[in-house]
């Protein structure tokens, strides 16, 4: 299992669009993808799970990947957490 913490920099946080893109990317991997903010841990392959974290600009979120191609998943999905999306 690998994990790393990222800071959200998208100005309006993780609403529909960033969530859609993240979940789409996460579901391409067979490994487990979890996201943790504070004491809350959700399935990173569920857009509702991700939305329920309420990630806002400046929030720190930990990405946990476990399984097949986890290194690649950590790199790709981590970059999506600290990314600015088109509005």
């Amino acid at each position: 299992m690998l994990s790393e913490t990222f800071t959200v920099i998208h100005p309006s946080g993780f609403h529909a669009r960033p969530t859609k893109i993240f979940v789409h990317a996460a579901t391409q991997y067979n490994c487990k993808v979890n996201l943790i903010k504070g004491s809350k841990k959700v399935n990173g392959k569920s857009s509702l799970g991700l939305l329920s974290l309420g990630l806002a600009k400046g929030d720190e979120v930990t990405l946990e990947v476990d399984g097949e191609r986890e290194e690649e998943a950590l790199r790709e999905l981590g970059a999506l957490l600290s990314k600015i999306y088109e509005e």
Binding site: T7, I9, P11, S12, G13, F14, H15, A16, R17, T19, K20, V23, H24, N43, K45, S46, S47, L48, G49, L51, S52, G54, A56, K57, G58, E60, S82, K83, I84, E86, E87
Partner: protein
């Protein structure tokens, strides 16, 4: 009879048309039933989900065709919701483990998700509840064998009146006939409000229960500038609102036209009218208002509102995004200007008794090279995405500038050794906000590509008057000859070296100051985005040659009042 209603003006404009009432069929909470064949029930649910998906996919395609890919994207998110384990698997579990009927299970799970989303801090996330209700309602309609409501059959000019409009409703509005809409609930960040703004469709949201009383077919005036709705307007009111609508539409069209035009004075002098931004979120507004570039990107906002320094990667992402969005237009990025009235608690800097005269801006950066180098590396790496200018704030003496430039050169060399591409044409300039720098501008001009005059600080330091202190606010005098002479000195010094001068304080967007500044030879004016179009309108009417003479005269005067009066007289002559 007129009965004015009010709501939130979510998308500006005025519409006068007949009300078209639109409602989703009320779905009563389904009864819990025990199903005998759980597998069959699960299958029934899966097939309803599949049909809903097919419909949403069709809406996505037609939206993309009519309104473009960006507006259709929301429906990709909807399809994704119908694949979400937290929704679909949760419903299937209730069916399979608890023998619940599909309608009941869907209703329960939807309710839980909606409640969770509505409890979120962010309004943007609370709005996602509307997406869940939209897709879930569509699946429910298939389970019940009823058609999901659709906004069709509008054949005349209409203002749609609804309790709420779902994303799929809004995407299906027939723009040939719909002139605006009113909803009982919603906010400025509702999907429907965002959509209305991008379609430039007047809209009032959150009008409350009172909007439910608007009768179908009644003539209504939708004043989405003031947030007022007039039902059955009198002849006098109709005439009044028609005039108002005409004036608004004309002005909107004028400004839209102006946004596309270059910034040229009546006698053919090109200037740059740029926007000040504090982050990525301000770029769209700068572009909408036709800014010729970004004259000041205040990067301190990247460092504020968080608990640690932003990483190089985060900064790179931000700068690259801004440069890319500005599409080749000049972007002046100011390096970290912290200290003074802006603190970063996580740096735990010692308290100073005179923070405005203390370790701020470039002084701080030179004392914390690690922080400075991270920012410069991020800037250099982003430089290939557009036209980057780097600006150091609060330079007082040449040694500071040289030190900052040396560090920049070192970071550039390191990146080049690492094989990272860096643009070759990055202009490097300084802010002129300390009188010592203004007085020494002819010397500094040899070592920079440009100056940008920060009037707010220049005035405070020249007058020795704290701009946060109300009791000395009378000394904030942008038109005082002492300030104007410093401005002229800076512009002339730059010009002698073939460099350009901009201004990024309040004064640059001040319609009274602009003629004078143009006359003094200022080349770039950076202001809040909303000031750009009025400034362009003004510049187009001004003759620089004429204002050169007026500026010479104005600078002979002795007080701010005399200068102001002089400028106003000449402006209206």
């Amino acid at each position: 009879m007129s009965q004015p209603l009010t709501g939130i003006a979510a998308s500006p404009g005025i519409a006068i048309a007949k009300a078209f009432r639109y409602a989703h069929a009320a779905i009563e909470a389904p009864q819990r039933a025990e199903v005998a064949d759980c597998a069959a029930e699960a299958e029934r649910f899966r097939s309803a989900v599949a049909r809903a998906k097919t419909e949403i996919e069709a809406i996505r395609e037609s939206t993309e065709r009519r309104l473009g890919a960006a507006k259709a994207e929301i429906f990709e998110a909807h399809v994704m919701l119908l694949e979400d384990p937290d929704l679909v698997d949760a419903v299937l579990e209730q069916i399979e483990n608890e023998s619940a009927n599909a309608e009941y299970a869907l209703h329960e799970v939807t309710g839980m998700i909606v409640e969770m989303l509505r409890g979120m801090d962010s309004e943007m996330l609370r709005e996602r509840a509307a997406d869940v209700l939209d897709v879930s309602g569509r699946v429910m309609s298939h389970l019940l064998g009823r058609p999901y409501a659709a906004l069709s059959g509008i054949t005349e000019e209409t203002v749609v009146v609804a309790q709420d409009l779902t994303p799929s409703d809004t995407a299906q509005l027939d723009m040939d006939y719909v002139r605006g809409f009113v909803t009982e609930i919603g906010s400025r960040t509702s999907h429907s409000a965002i959509m209305a703004r991008s379609l430039e469709l007047p809209a009032i949201v959150g009008a409350g229960k009172a909007a439910a009383g608007i009768p179908h077919g009644a003539t209504i005036v939708l004043d989405a500038i003031e947030g007022r709705i007039v039902v059955d307007p009198s002849e006098a009111e109709l005439a009044q609102y028609r005039t108002k609508k005409e004036a608004y539409d004309r002005r909107t069209a004028e400004l839209k036209q102006l946004a596309k035009e270059p910034s040229i004075s009546a006698d053919g002098v090109h200037v740059e009218l740029a926007a000040n931004i504090g982050g990525v979120e301000d770029v769209a507004k700068a572009l909408e208002n036709g800014a010729d570039g970004v004259g000041l990107f205040r990067t301190e906002f990247l460092y504020m509102g968080r608990s640690s320094l932003p990483t190089e990667e985060e900064q790179y992402e931000t700068y690259r995004h801004v440069l890319d969005k500005m599409n080749g237009k000049r972007v002046v990025i100011r390096t970290l200007d912290i200290g003074g009235d802006k603190e970063l608690p996580y740096l735990s800097l010692p308290k100073e008794s005179n923070p405005f005269l203390g370790l701020r801006a470039v002084r701080f950066c030179l004392s914390r090279e690690d922080v400075f180098r991270t920012q410069l590396r991020a800037l250099l790496r982003a430089s290939t995405a557009g036209k980057l200018n780097i600006m150091f704030p609060m330079i007082a003496v040449a040694a500071e500038l040289r030190q900052a430039k040396a560090i920049l050169a070192e970071e550039r060399a390191k990146l080049e050794r690492e094989g990272v591409p860096v643009a070759g044409d990055i202009e490097v300039g300084i802010m002129i906000e300390i009188p010592a720098a203004a007085l020494n501008a002819d010397y500094l001009a040899k070592e920079v590509d440009f100056f940008s005059i920060g009037t707010n600080d220049l005035i405070q330091y020249t007058m020795a008057a704290d701009r946060m202190n109300d009791s000395v606010s009378y000394l904030y005098q942008p038109y005082h000859p002492s300030i104007l002479r410093l401005v002229r000195m800076v512009i002339q010094a730059a010009r002698r070296e073939g460099k350009w001068t901009g201004m990024c304080g309040e004064m640059a967007g001040d319609l009274t100051a602009i003629p004078l500044l143009l006359g003094l030879g200022l080349g770039e004016f950076s202001m809040s985005a909303s000031s750009v179009l009025p400034a362009r309108e003004l510049v187009k009417r001004l003759s620089r040659a004429e204002w050169e003479r007026f500026a010479d005269e104005a600078l002979q005067l002795g007080t701010q009042e005399e200068v102001k009066q002089f400028v106003e007289q000449r402006s209206h002559a």
